[in-house]
């Protein structure tokens, strides 16, 4: 039920806000924003640490669960230069050691601000896997094949009842581009004004369902 065929590609949505491509054995996440709370603390805002460890552990668990053979981050693995502290570098080093599969980072706008990424991580402008292209900013999409992107942290607003509404993170398919929700625990989102042909998929408990458009209006 979490598997959809989009533009001729088999795409499996996971409720944690990530995508698994069974044909390629690839797990794709976007917008992890490691070290975000450290950035806050560096600017004098008392936000506790913990999400870096948590998010990396969540990633490892997802890799084990899906049996993925490669991990791809669609941009914004890191948050800001002031968030790259020695503690966080150690966390990442441990993570990379335990990661036994290839790892690719598509460079996000936040990553681009960091002159030297920790643990000599390499980044690239985009990643091509046969007919699928992984990018960070959905505006960089071109061509007819499927693109996977991040950057927007998409959320959907669902009016319920008289005066309230729900805001939920979602996967947004617009044209040939599938925009992933942000993965980082300490990241927010933005409600994206919808186009008529947009398709929306929301995590609900242990599955991901396509949202009937009547609910969004």
């Amino acid at each position: 039920m979490n598997t959809f065929s989009l533009h001729g590609q088999v795409v499996q949505f996971l409720p944690e806000g990530v995508v698994f491509l069974p044909d390629h054995g690839a797990l794709i996440v976007a917008d992890v924003h490691l070290g975000k709370s450290a950035t806050f603390r560096a600017k004098g805002l008392p936000v506790p640490e913990g999400d870096t460890h948590r998010d990396l552990a969540r990633l490892l668990a997802l890799l084990a669960e899906t049996g993925a053979r490669r991990l791809i981050v669609a941009g914004d693995l890191f948050h800001a230069p002031s968030g790259i502290t020695p503690e966080i570098e150690r966390e990442i080093a441990t993570f990379l050691q335990r990661l036994e599969i290839p790892f690719h980072l598509v460079c996000g706008n936040h990553d681009a601000k960091i002159r030297r990424l920790p643990c000599s991580i390499d980044s690239q402008a985009f990643l091509q896997m046969e007919n699928i292209r992984i990018i960070h900013d959905p505006r960089d999409a071109s061509g007819e094949s499927l693109h996977l992107a991040g950057h927007w942290h998409p959320m959907v607003k669902i009016p319920d009842g008289r005066r309230t509404s729900l805001r939920l993170p979602c996967f947004l398919l617009r044209g040939t581009t599938l925009v992933l929700p942000s993965f980082g625990s300490f990241t927010g989102g933005a409600v994206i004004p919808l186009h008529p042909d947009d398709r929306i998929f929301v995590p609900m408990r242990n599955k991901v369902v396509e949202l009937p458009r009547e609910l969004v209006r």
Partner: protein, 805 residues
Amino acid sequence: MRFPKLQPFFDARGWKPFPFQRETWTAYRQGKSGLLHAPTGQGKTLAVYLGPLSETLAGPDVCSVLWLTPLRALAADTLRALREPLAELAPKLQAEARTGDTSAAIRAKLRRKLPHTLVTTPESLSLMLTHDDFADKMAHLRCVIVDEWHELLGTKRGVQAELCLARLRTWFPTLRIWGLSATLGNLTEARHTLLGSSFPDSVEVTADLKKPIVIDTLIPREMERFPWAGHLGTRLAPEVAKEIEKANTTLLFTNTRSQTEIWFQELLELRPGWKDLLAMHHGSLDPAERAIAENGLRDGSLKCVVATSSLDLGVDFSPVDQVIQIGSPKGIARLLQRAGRAGHQPGKPSRILGVPTHALELVEFAAARDAMMVRSIEARPPLEKPLDVLVQHLVTCAIGQPFLPDEMRREIQSSHAFRNLTDSEWDWALGFISNGGAALAAYPRYRKAHIQDGRYTVDEKRLILQHRLSIGTIVGDASVSIKFASGRALGTVEESFISRLKPGSPLIFGGRHLVLVRLHQRTATVKPAPKNIQGHVSVWGGNRMPLSTELAHALALRLKGDGQPTPEMKAVQPILDIQKKWSRLPDDDSLLVEHTRSREGEHLFLYPFAGRLVHEGLATLIAYRISRVSGQSIQTTHNDYGFSLNAKRGLFLGEDELRQATSEENLLGDLIECMHTAELARRQFREIARVSGLILQQPPGRPSQSQREIQSSASLLFEVLQRYDVENLLLQQSRREILENQLEFTRLSQVIHSLQQRPILFVETEHLSPMAFPLWADRLQAILVAADATTRLEAMLKELNQAAG
């Protein structure tokens, strides 16, 4: 005691000082502080101001008096009132205002030199505390006067003022502090809250000028066609228009901003010729729009201003000779305050005309009059230990003048709000502003204040700037500003209202018929609507002020038949007779429970007379406890008089079952469970996060990159704290505030306790009684209690599937 120096001012006007003015001057001269309780327009300004002025008449122009006002808008009027005696008695001395509205030029002037009398707000005073030379500049300060203290009492701004005053008292131990307050049920407590623990011999002066207040009511001519309850109708508008015609200038008060818009439209429709004589005033209008109404009231060029509580406060509008209250007065103090806006001259009676929107409000007006006679006025309980305000103030102090923790703790505890501060709370607050405190391990590399020679100090320029931008405790709603394409601002509306409109949709705002052009980010662009287009009246949230305990009690007494006959009671008697015939008249010595059956199943109506917030909590609690046993789902509705439960079956309860459902046992636990307090607390956290400095105030304009790096939402922060610093005291504060603000938990527990003693009177009714009918009619409006998002979404999807088929 004689005051020859002040005599010229009174002689020039042919006035004689009132006894309460002499009393205040005498107490001041004896070195005392205190609280002056006087209605507006009673010479209270002269009472508190001339004391310190007479001492400093001959002196140099150094800052001697600090005047704190709760409203920026009041500053200009206050300044005018203070300059009058100053011009007469000491023309060389200056008075100036320093508020958020003050121009940059005057601000710069004030940075160089402070005037003899400085008028300011709690926020601006806090801001001045961050300047290291402020204490030196204030070295000659003799007296602080806090105007409209009743407005600040019970709010975070009030606590901010308490802390600032504590700072000033530490610097200047002989400082005298005088507060001004309108009528309150707890004046003594109000005085102790203002003065803290440093003034054992403070005094309370009452300006008992016997200013009579008359409460009249507009009684509907066709009572039998008047609604029993419920709607905020404009049925009496034609009569109201006639009353407005009779007076020179009328202030028409409503209870909500939406009602203001509705009544404004209604009056214009009835009297199109009043187009330029009618204005409107509410808190969401742009200050420029509000100024139009205020100036029109001051110079008497307007016939009528339709307003909300935004005009409750002290500006002197002498031309106003009539005040009308539309709908429930909600509380006695509030009704008196509003009545006092008319006939501002001493000795003239204040009259207020009550206009009911349904029958039971007639009883409310009669009850308010009774309560006024026996002086049963609402109290405003002061706030206890809001830690978000404390941490903000500590950073303010650490910037201005680094402090020793022990000394500072004594100072903080000299304020009323923090007199019972515990060791662990103090340690937490110090940790929060310095290194993360108790949960140090969770805050690597965090530092705001650091300790230098034992003193807490904040000296990093960026942090100082950031903090100055964030000072204050008022947190705006998620609001959208409304503008014309020309850029002219009209005011703000709630996002939830405007986001439901499409471009091209008509709406009514600020008395104007408009069309939405587009909504972009936080700005809605509008244009005037073509003629004869009906729009949606703008809706704002927060229409939840409950009937006060005192008024509810007076109302219950009236229903019981107590008190002298009045026209209001005569008018509603037929309805009360029906209630008595079909059921009984409820009161607050017993608990009336009506049970009835309809096609919808069973209904239960209960009337505790405890105000809508408490009833909402009680209804939800009882429904939760009953359905836990019966498994039935139960719908609830509530109003200021009582609440109802509706279910398919299982509501025919015996006394034991009902006693169990209203038991005090595990009250808090059950409430937290059934009201989804966790979800609500997350929403409440926004204000706390802002005040405590976890969320930064964004300066206007596009945020810079470094600002964007530290943007986050309150609910994200709430979750992070819950995951990694669950002991954080701000989380507990958020839960406490939600219980008090949304549920009136203290009042609810008192009501539950009193219900234990009250006999239960069960009545099986054949028809819905007049008291029950509005609760039944409201059933479609009941707003579902928020569950977590996934559960709500699941329910919606299920509904959609069922509808499909």
